[in-house]
Amino acid sequence: MFKDITIGQYYPADSLIHKLDPRVKFVGTLIYIISLFVFHTWGYVLGTIFLFSVIRLSKVPFGFMVRGLKAVWILLIFTMVLNLFLTQGTVVWQFGIFHITREGIGTAAKMGIRLVYLIIGCSIMTLTTTPNKLTDAMESLFRPLRKVHVPVHEIAMMMSIALRFIPILMEETDKIKKAQMARGADFESGNVIQRVKAMVPILVPLFVSAFRRANDLALAMEARCYHGGDGRTQMRPLVYQSRDYAAYSVLLAYLAAAIALRAVLRW
């Protein structure tokens, strides 16, 4: 059931995008998302060109990018339909209480494009960056928040440990499920409510075991002198290379172009 989720999956390849500092990719994704909301009409051409060039540079097959959309297509259609029927303006088609307006078509198309591009944009980041590097990037980028007592290091550590234990817990879920099935549990038949109820005998032992694992791991980490982020050095400290600065310049130029298109040309 997890195989459709491309967000968080890594596609190993040797490309410029893969080699970029994870912080650049994180900031780049943010800038791209901002630009999607800056664009009004023809600006999306710029967004499309930018997106496709990055996909080409990343050497990740296009099919992989689109797979991420499968998880959200219901949300996508829902948003588009709502926008299509509920926007007020010049009516172009009417049936009973339903009506489609010229403005509605425009907004629906815009929302659709925005959502699709947003998801592809985020997929590029996760497909080209290992989860560990992504956590490192977040830890480093959000470090200023420590001044307002946000436990940045701890959150990053929790994320990387969660990533480490996802496969272990999934295997365990499978084992528990088979053990329950061997004793006659039925997960396949019945309506939705019955099926959800049937999950309880899986979830309870899974939680118990997860807590036990957490306890063991905490002990093992303490035994290896873990005492929070203070005084800790890093095995792979993030250092910007010249290509990262170049990438930042491209991103800034892109953002500036997006804003200029909107402000000057009213696109």
Binding site: L217, E222, A223, R224, C225, M235, R236
Partner: protein
């Protein structure tokens, strides 16, 4: 010089009943005195609930004694300031290989300890290379721990401890969840480290086959240290060990049984080779081999 020294060590904890009855005091460790010299290979034996794991957790200050004192490399574990120094000197490997690996890449996990100690980046990489090589895991450095076998995971855990440059490694039943191949693999790696690096090893186990390599064996029962000596001395007391619900190696058991039947075979035989030698000696001895006539 002793690296680990316990003086009248006691550890009690309260055990709460299920329906709010009065908590009961459990004496997990009682009046343990022991001394472990640097470079030794020590085994601690005992059946479940004998207090051996509790004792082990005192050796790197994960637990602090409720009575008596524990010194690790001349540092008292009661001192809060020295906790991290103690844990650097005395590393610990636990039973479940999955629950002690922090990172999703082998080499990053080995680097976790040195990172916590604040070791500079270049030095971390040197230590990671070094300890992966010593444990024979260098080929798996970029792998995910999830794809390794149990024995390999435990070797990664040992490498992770070695990267902290400890003087002593405490292993709390490191082979209990492994298959025979994995057990052999882990014990071999630890013995090599003990011999080549001179690291003190304290192995807690209930597999008797792992004990025969030790310089010194401690046997625990109900929180007390009940026997102490070389493996040969310990395994000369087969009946006492049985009373403590401990097994002895099969060959020791066989020799003991033959001796009870009247065969003139020495006590405390540890290996098959030794057993064969003893039997051959009796046969070659000729006339006085009383019950051996049949072959």
């Amino acid at each position: 010089m002793s690296i680990i020294k316990a003086d009248k060590l006691n550890y009690d904890y309260l055990e709460y009943g299920e329906d709010g009855e009065k908590p009961e005091i459990t004496h997990a460790v009682r009046d343990v005195n022991l001394k472990i010299r640097e470079g030794q290979f020590i085994a601690i034996l005992g059946h479940n609930g004998s207090g051996k794991s509790t004792l082990a957790k005192h050796m790197n200050a994960l637990l602090v004694p409720t009575g008596g004192t524990m010194w690790v490399d001349q540092m008292d574990t009661h001192e809060d300031d020295e906790v991290w120094d103690i844990r650097q000197r005395a590393g610990m490997v636990f039973q479940n290989p999955d629950n002690q690996i922090v990172s999703s890449v082998v080499e990053e996990d080995v680097g976790f300890g040195p990172e916590n100690l604040g070791v500079p980046t270049d030095e971390i990489w040197k230590r990671v290379d070094d300890s992966l090589r010593k444990t024979g895991m260098i080929a798996y450095r970029h792998h995910s721990p999830n794809k390794l076998s149990g024995g390999q995971k435990q070797r990664v855990a040992i490498a992770g401890v070695m990267a902290m440059k400890p003087k002593c490694i405490i292993m709390d039943e490191p082979t209990a969840m492994l298959d025979p191949n994995g057990r052999h693999e882990v014990i071999q790696a630890v013995r090599d480290l003990n011999k080549s690096e001179g690291v003190t090893v304290i192995l807690i186990t209930h597999y008797m086959e792992e004990v025969i390599y030790a310089d010194n064996v401690f046997v625990m029962d109900e929180g007390r240290l009940v026997m102490q000596g070389t493996p040969r001395e310990i395994f000369s007391h087969v009946d006492e060990l049985h009373e403590l619900r401990l097994d002895v190696p099969h060959v020791t058991q066989l020799a003991h049984a033959l001796r009870l039947k009247g065969l003139d075979i020495p006590e405390g035989i540890l290996s098959i080779d030794e057993f064969v030698d003893a039997i051959m000696k009796i046969r070659d001895g000729g006339t006085e081999g009383r019950s051996c006539q049949s072959d």
